[in-house]
Symmetry: C2
Subunit: 252 residues, 2 copies
DNA sequence: CGTTGGGTTGATCGACCTCAATAAAAGTGG
DNA sequence: CCACTTTTATTGAGGTCGATCAACCCAACG
């Protein structure tokens, strides 16, 4: 299994390289980055962001390609600049739990651990800033307010994870789907202005694997919400018709 | 509701004071603290720990008393020095999700937020070091390696929370109970030497509310494990008979 | 003792899963 | 641009795991 694991990693890296798209040098401009204030870079001054710039590499991934895989060595960390990513853990028998969806401004590699704690793959075309973990870590040591920012982002993730525990452990299927939509709406609202339209770059299966439900149940609950005029299902997402109603389903 | 909320907080604080036991001045000795290396203090030198000492207050709580409540202002943070604490979130209709059990060495208040993200109450007699959040936060600013330690602890909590998501979302009842025992065993092992005996200071109801199960199901699963000689149920805990078997239930 | 809180066990129920069929959408190649 | 396949989504019928409801046990404790 050890030797097999090594070759798995090697082939995964190769696959990643194959799916990874050309670098766009023009997109690499931290000073005019649209997600800078939302991301970890928001803690940095213009001069500091230039330092970060030197250790970063702008790159992108095609939809359905792999950013990294669980248990692989975590040599790099990422800052998402556009697109959506699913983060998941697999059980040996194939059951999957999605632990989160990363959107622009999100940071992948908060744990700064040797190994990736989960797998990540692109749901859409994704652009990122990539950093070597050691270089990034070194910069953290030198800039305490940068470290402080990372702590604040990690704490926030922990809070979201604890909220997700409540959803997974104690919510009904309908409440889970409602909570998912409200949670995603809040996150999109930070990025877009519009707020009743919720893009859903992930499949129903993904939503199910995030909420601890089957595809069929997710589909049925969305259909139910649509039938009672709480939402409308549109291509690539939903539109909220009755925000008050859906929010009342997930109170607290 | 606003006025009521304020009086709720006031009465909660009063209740806390009532349940809180006498300070034991002798117990307050960071230099000889048994959990120092496990806790956030492990990052500090002897001199630094003396500084921390000055802003800390040694205190304790009786079993079943409240340390703090969700949505209350989080003016203080705690380092658990002995005993066990349950951390939970309540839904308006009374459903409860336990988001974790805090053991000696654990830190409460990682989020460093204005409001508590969950409620905490003592399962046993509990001793703690209490810090004012602002004083603690100020110390973090001055000691980057202390901040680094807090980040590392927060990352670890996030990893545990993500593991718990897999358990809540994609595990069967039997697997949940097995995973709970294995997870707790690992945590006790850091503190005690013995490892096949797992103290369970929480009730079956608490275990259920941690795993997204009912009391009855938890009881049935424990009984099943005991019937097939995987564990023995003993007063205040369980003893593992077949570690390999129970570990195989939660592989990955 | 009687009371109370926790734990176990059994019988029944139902929310969600499984299995199956179909529909709709998105590629894919000629 | 149109057949063809593949993937994703929806809908229905039936089954099951864990919830619910209920009874009972037991130890702690005033």
């Amino acid at each position: 299994m050890d030797i097999e694991a090594v070759s798995d990693v090697a082939s995964a890296v190769h696959q990643q390289a194959a799916h990874q798209c050309q670098k766009d040098p023009l997109s690499h401009d931290c000073a005019h980055c649209r997600v800078r204030n939302l991301s970890i870079c928001g803690a940095l001054t213009d001069e500091e962001v230039n330092v970060l710039d030197k250790i970063s590499r702008s790159m992108c991934f095609d939809a359905r390609s792999t950013l990294f895989e669980q248990d692989e060595p975590a040599d790099v960390v990422y800052n998402i600049t556009s697109g959506s990513v699913r983060l998941y853990k697999l059980l040996p028998d194939g059951r999957r739990q999605i632990v989160g969806f990363a959107l622009p401004g999100d940071f992948l590699g908060l744990a700064l651990s040797e190994k990736n704690m989960f797998s990540a793959d692109a749901l859409t075309h994704v652009t990122v800033c990539q950093f070597s973990r050691t270089a990034f870590s070194a910069m953290l040591e030198q800039k305490p307010h940068f470290l402080r920012r990372l702590l604040s982002m990690t704490s926030h993730e922990l809070t979201l994870a604890q909220d997700q525990m409540v959803i997974l452990g104690r919510r009904t299927a309908e409440e889970k789907v409602a909570a998912f939509l409200i949670g995603l709406r809040k996150r999109w609202a930070r990025l877009n202005a519009t707020s009743v339209h919720i893009p859903l770059p992930m499949t129903r299966q993904d939503i199910g694997d995030f909420l601890g439900l089957t595809v069929e149940t997710v589909s049925r609950m969305l259909t139910r919400l649509a039938r009672e005029k709480t939402i409308v299902i549109v291509p690539d997402g939903v539109r909220l018709l009755d925000v008050a109603r859906i929010e009342s389903m997930v109170e607290n």
